[in-house]
Amino acid sequence: MANYNYIAWIPLLPLAGFVLLGLFGRRRFRGFSGILGTGLILAAALLSLYAAWQYFGAGAGAAGVTAGGSAYKPILAMKFTWLSFSPGLSIDMSVLLDPISVMMIVVVSLVSLMVHIFSLGYMKGEERFGTYYAFLSLFSFSMLGLVLSGNIFQLFIFWELVGCSSFLLIGYYYDRPSAVAASKKAFIVTRFADLGFLIGILILSFYGETLDFGTLIHRLTTPSPQFLSITSASFLGFSLLSWGLTLVFIGGAGKSAMFPLHVWLPDAMEGPTPVSALIHAATMVVAGVYLVARLFPVFSLSDPPALGVVAYVGAFSALIAAIMACTQTDIKRVLAYSTMSQIGYMMFALGVSKYGGEGGLGYMASMFHLFTHAGFKALLFLCAGVIIHRVHSNEMNAMGGLRRQLPLTHICCLIACLAISGIPPFSGFFSKEEILLAAWQSNKLIYGVGLFTSGLTAYYMFRLYFSIFWRGPHGVRQAAGDPGAGDAHGSTPVSMNLPLVVLALGALLAGLIPFSHFVTSDGEPIDTHTPLSFSIAPVALALAGIGLAAWLYGTMSDRPRRLASAIGGLYRLVYHTFYIDEIYAFITKKILFNLVGRPAAWIDRNIVDGLMNGLASFTAWISALIKGMQSGKMQDYALYFFTGIAGLAVLFIYIWKN
């Protein structure tokens, strides 16, 4: 068995970066904090690649694949008890290697590396440069830890940590109230979802009597005593297994911005753009997908209803996000909704999948899409970063005709748009085809939604593309007319261009990787063969979408405006993203704050505390009441004296006799 102990260094290197930069980044390491952070993540990325090579490639025969079959088996590279609750129930810190985790560490470390490099240019001159890299390192550490977790609670720990680093990075521009609000929102919404996750863990671990993924999955997919107890116990008509898995999925949905927990994601774009690329496009937001994939055997084999929930939530989110993306004018928001939509694809791909063999196509497709999406979405965001860097605005309406000024960015962005739209031979095409095929095989309704959404995707992405790079020259003017911009950011530095090129290559080529040979639901490689005829519909729809976008936004015209006014109310509804934010605000502000919080605070001050103060006042009142007893008159005293004697005598002679 090959030695995988070095894997632990993959998350630990960025952690070291965080500690060093967090402690000294402000002063001592300030000058080279970017280099330090990037160097460490580079090392981690190299290690990840080596690990992938060892697991899938060279070492396959010895380690990844067992001697008998050709399946990739999970390997627990290391494990120590972190916190023990009772025998069998403990949080272990472990490193679990299986196809998806290896795939994920590669994705995470590579995208992270790109973003680190990109940020060297993008964030240059920021006051809290060191802190920025510290947070990035923290995120990389947490995310790598998350994907390597072999224990559901370990995963939860890193899950929370990525949430925190996301919070810190969204709020990086802390003096902007909108950034602060967005970071708060992101944290709280995902926290709320994590509550579901936590309770789900409690349910699963209580009945599974373990927190270890391997054991848990084994117990809950075979008719073990634990399996029988969790399926026989029910609550409100569903078995506790369904409850547990659904709650865990809620956690995943929160992190992955599934409807209706997606509200934080568009706002999260307040963070620096490279951060959006890393966290809110490529890695963290797919954690929910990863989580479902991690527990996929349980979902699939033991509890189809919960998997159904996954499928429908995913499909609905994909659709609604795509619709919302069509009306947004902030580039990053468009990209955010597009992310949400693409994650919806991944989710429903999992939801329609089965476990094992050919039936596991959806699972494989989902992971494949995750893989390709990470590349092209990060590319899109980095392109957006370059553009924003140049234009100093997020508004698409303020741009246009940038293709001459930013030729490289233009090409990269075009590649990415084609990839996400599913145009062959770009990477998105391959993964999306397989998702649609899996949906077709399992659920026609979802297939329909997916197909329609892919058309929408092509439309809104090219709406974005044309708005920025083609339509009219006024964006140019604005950029040129801004003297500060011209001086400071006259040309894009290499550190920003390099990642674009690397990622663009990825978006071009990643689709050619025989993904199904590596990552499948049960580790057995499968062969996928998509019939050519099947691809016609999605590609045609995508081309139609591109055409529509070109017609509307290719040149300066008032066509978009006329179209918008033609569908009036509907447009406004979509433009305001179905007023979901307002509904949330109503629930929190009006109901939680005014109907629960305020009364609680009031009751505490006035009733509970009032009771205590009332006791004191009561005592004082009694005291005032009886003060007349001490009248100062001696004869009254004598009378009390005498009454006392008489009272005692009567009481003890006649009444309280012994």
């Binding site: 003060k627 007349g628 001490q630 009248s631 100062g632 008159k633 001696m634 004869q635 004598a638 009378l639 005498f642």
Partner: protein
């Protein structure tokens, strides 16, 4: 034996006790109050003597006690009156109702 029954004497002493008590509680002059206390003491004296004579004639405990009570009452009265005189100097009155500066 043709003597007055004990109960009669006790009745007298009880009456004296309550007369004293009444005086103490109603009279406003301190001297009169002091006299009322003396009445109570006298009722006690009668009790002692009567009990001694009627029930426990073999020893003289009661009678001795009476003697001491009389003596002490005298001492008490002396001090009390001295204090009252002093009070009169300060207050120009020995009305008990006026000695209520300190209260509540």
């Amino acid at each position: 034996m043709n003597q007055i029954p004990l109960t009669h004497i006790l009745f007298v002493s009880t009456a004296l006790f309550f007369i004293g008590m009444y005086g103490l509680l109603t009279r406003r002059n301190l001297i009169t109050m002091l006299m009322s206390v003396e009445l109570i003491l006298n009722s006690v004296n009668i009790n002692f003597v009567a009990f001694n004579r009627y029930l426990y004639a073999d020893k003289l405990d009661g009678v001795f006690f009476t003697l001491f009570i009389i003596t002490i009452a005298a001492a008490e009265a002396a001090v009390a009156i001295a204090i009252m005189i002093h009070l009169y100097r300060n207050l120009n009155s020995i009305d008990v109702e006026q000695t209520d500066e300190m209260k509540f």
